[in-house]
């Protein structure tokens, strides 16, 4: 087996290094790798915020050549795990269908979506990615494919299992009818975080696209003001003429310096808010509204090599007002500037280490520094106290204790499940090591 040495980095630049990598382009090669006695982890697009697809003494198995669509009957699509969401979506659009849940960047792999059980832009209505997956095929070390259906033990372990149960070969996903061929978007100004959530709830059953942008660049007057982005499907056909995508790569940032820092953050946020807060009647193509990060991927590069981190927390609704004020106080005490903040409504039940449940999801991005790390650590404590969970697949800093505190029995349930599969540490990543899952 020929290994290559590749430099990988988590998207937030917190973890990087040179790792062993293979890229099978046929089943025979995949059989060899999975059947060997080497520790491996599947790697889709390699764009995870965290080190989910590489690790010490682990061979990353690139799945990009396993990207074929294998079946489609109008209701369900079966596709290999290395295909990207856009590759699948493009096919579906030609048949008047759509994936029910999509992450905001088009080149994320289907396998990655399953491994992290990602959410889209309106989780309250759409649910999570794996809610719509009906069947999985996982490569076994004996060379066969394990077929597992929703509700079965292996399926449940693998959904949101961070690739630690095996290499997903393909998945069957239930698709939805396309309700429109474009979206009409409006921005509803909000005065603060509490009002933002009220407006989100008012629109939760009416809108197809719903999330917010909030200015948390500094505490004080108008803290948390911003706008809710609400969209509805339209029958107007907008050509998908722009499939351009800023190329994110899972490697160390080529730009050394950070342009997003404590000086620029308030300025950038103010301008952004001023330009966007009251926009109405914006016509977005399916590509544009499905993948808001497609053309804005340069945002991640602007953090430079020091990188950033994203804390996304799911807070019970009853605690939201208190949480918002505690966040402001904390930010004030640390003098911390928050580069980006976005809120979404969530609905569902807690499940092992999935980012799921009922409540308010707030995602904040911070430029990495000693101060911001200290601020984040304090915020972890607040999150734990207020019954919130932090999104594991977004935040490289989350330590074992915090995850245990927040996820409670969910953590141990998942760990026990992995143990019961008796995989003998075959699948491992930096994430698994950090969270002591293997």
């Amino acid at each position: 087996m020929i290994l290559d040495q590749r430099v990988f980095s988590s998207l937030d630049q917190s973890e990087s290094g040179t790792f062993n990598y293979v890229e099978p382009d046929r089943f025979r090669s995949l059989d060899k790798i999975v059947g060997s006695d080497q520790t491996i982890i599947a790697r889709g697009s390699g764009l995870s915020y965290i080190a989910a697809s590489f690790g010490e003494s682990t061979i990353s198995v690139g799945m990009k050549f396993f990207n074929k669509i294998l079946a489609f009957d109008g209701q369900t699509i079966t596709v290999q795990a290395g295909a990207t969401v856009w590759e699948v979506q493009k096919f579906l659009l030609n048949h008047g269908k759509t994936l029910p849940v999509q992450p905001g960047y088009p080149r994320i792999s289907i396998g990655g979506c399953i491994a992290c059980n990602v959410h889209g832009k309106n989780q309250y209505v759409e649910g999570l990615f794996c809610d719509w997956v009906t069947e999985l095929w996982i490569q076994s070390s004996e060379g066969a494919q394990i077929n597992t259906k929703k509700g079965e033990f292996m399926f449940d372990c693998t959904s949101g299992g961070f690739g630690l149960t095996g290499v997903i070969i393909c998945a069957s996903i239930h698709v939805h009818d396309l309700k429109g061929t474009s979206i009409i978007e409006e921005h509803i100004p909000t005065a603060n975080l509490v009002e933002t959530v009220d407006i989100l709830f008012e629109n939760s059953e009416k809108k197809d696209l719903l999330y917010s942008w909030n200015n948390l660049s500094k505490p004080g007057l108008n803290y948390g003001a911003g706008f809710v982005i609400a969209g509805s499907y339209s029958k107007e056909i907008l050509p998908i003429h722009n499939e351009k995508c800023y190329p994110l790569i899972g490697e160390p940032n080529k730009y050394k310096w950070s342009l997003i820092n404590s000086l620029s953050i308030p300025f950038i946020n103010k301008i952004y808010q001023r330009i966007n807060a009251r926009k109405k009647n914006l016509h977005r193509s399916i590509y544009e509204y499905s993948y808001p990060a497609a053309n804005q991927g340069f945002y991640f590069d602007l953090f430079g090599r020091q990188g950033f981190f994203e804390i996304q927390a799911l807070i019970p609704r009853a605690n939201w007002a208190l949480y918002a004020s505690r966040l402001e106080v904390l930010q004030q005490s640390y003098g911390q500037k928050i580069a980006l903040a976005s809120i979404k409504l969530f609905k569902g039940t807690r499940n092992k280490l999935h980012f799921s449940g009922d409540g308010i999801s707030i995602a904040i991005d911070l430029s990495r520094s000693k101060n911001s790390l200290a601020f984040a650590k304090k915020l972890d404590e607040i999150n734990s106290e207020m019954g919130a969970i932090s999104c594991i697949h977004k935040d490289s800093r989350l330590d074992l204790q915090t995850v245990r505190d927040q996820y409670g029995k969910g953590y141990f349930e998942f760990k026990d499940e992995l143990k019961s599969l008796n995989l003998k540490g075959k699948y491992k990543s930096q994430l698994a090591t950090r969270l002591d899952l293997i």
Binding site: I2, R26, S29, K68, I69, A71, F72, F91
Partner: protein, 243 residues
């Protein structure tokens, strides 16, 4: 056009198969692993309106008559034969393990010549084309990739001989591509002297040249300049080079 692609499930062969299907040609695709072929067939048929036929064959142990009968019963006389499959091994330098040596010979020379020989009459009758994936390894004999290079060189020699024959008997043609490094499993993980090309782009070049060009073509074309340089090195200097 009715096309037989040998080595269709990965790398250059996969892209050629896909592009031929997208252009509306009838394609019969062969490779060694049925799983790869099944996935290829379904995905192409779903994404285009093509109808692909497939057959799993092992070039290291080829049943040529079975292949011929299957293709003939499915497509009839073919118009184009693509010999794309290849196999190399990093140990191919000087003395080789016997099994690996046999495999290199069979996959890169014996089976391809056997296939060309079997389908020659059909190609002749349809004034069709034979497209052979050669290699820049045949530019000049060297210590690295010794057996692979000589097999590709032999295949090229055979192809040119067939071309000479065909030109006196029909309008059929033979095109041999001396392929440079491509981003496929053959070059994966290796430190290459020159950049590796995108096999999808090479496939596009090959398809574009159908019915237009014959003879030996370098792909990418800049390998011709490298070939001239390599061939101009005096042997006593070449003997001292390690590659």
């Amino acid at each position: 056009m009715k096309c037989l692609v040998v080595g269709a499930s990965a790398g250059l062969g996969l892209y050629i198969t896909r592009q031929l299907a997208e252009l509306g040609h009838e394609v019969f695709a062969c490779s060694s692993d049925q799983r790869d072929l099944d996935a290829l067939k379904i995905s192409i048929e779903l994404e285009t309106n093509a109808n692909i036929s497939i057959l799993s064959i092992d070039l290291a142990n080829l049943n040529i008559l079975k292949l011929y009968e299957k293709v003939k019963s499915t497509l009839g006389c073919i118009d184009a034969l693509f010999i794309i499959a290849g196999f190399s091994d990093l140990q191919d330098s000087g003395q080789l393990n016997t099994n690996i040596a046999d495999k290199i010979r069979r996959i890169n020379f014996e089976s391809p010549t056997s296939i060309i020989n079997q389908f020659l009459q059909d190609i002749k009758s349809t004034s069709g084309q034979i497209i052979i994936a050669g290699s820049v390894a045949s530019i000049r004999p060297r210590g690295g990739n010794t057996l692979y290079g000589s097999c590709k060189s032999g295949l090229e020699f055979y192809g040119l001989g067939i071309q000479h024959y065909l030109q006196r008997h029909s309008k059929a043609s033979v095109t041999i591509y001396r392929l440079g490094y491509m981003k496929t499993n053959m070059t994966f993980g290796q430190k290459l002297l020159f950049p590796a090309a995108d096999p999808n782009r090479i496939a596009t070049t090959i398809i574009k040249n159908l019915n237009r060009k014959s003879g030996v073509i370098y792909a990418p074309s800049w390998w011709k300049a490298i070939s001239l340089v390599v061939n101009s090195i005096p042997q006593f200097i070449f003997n001292k080079l390690n590659f």
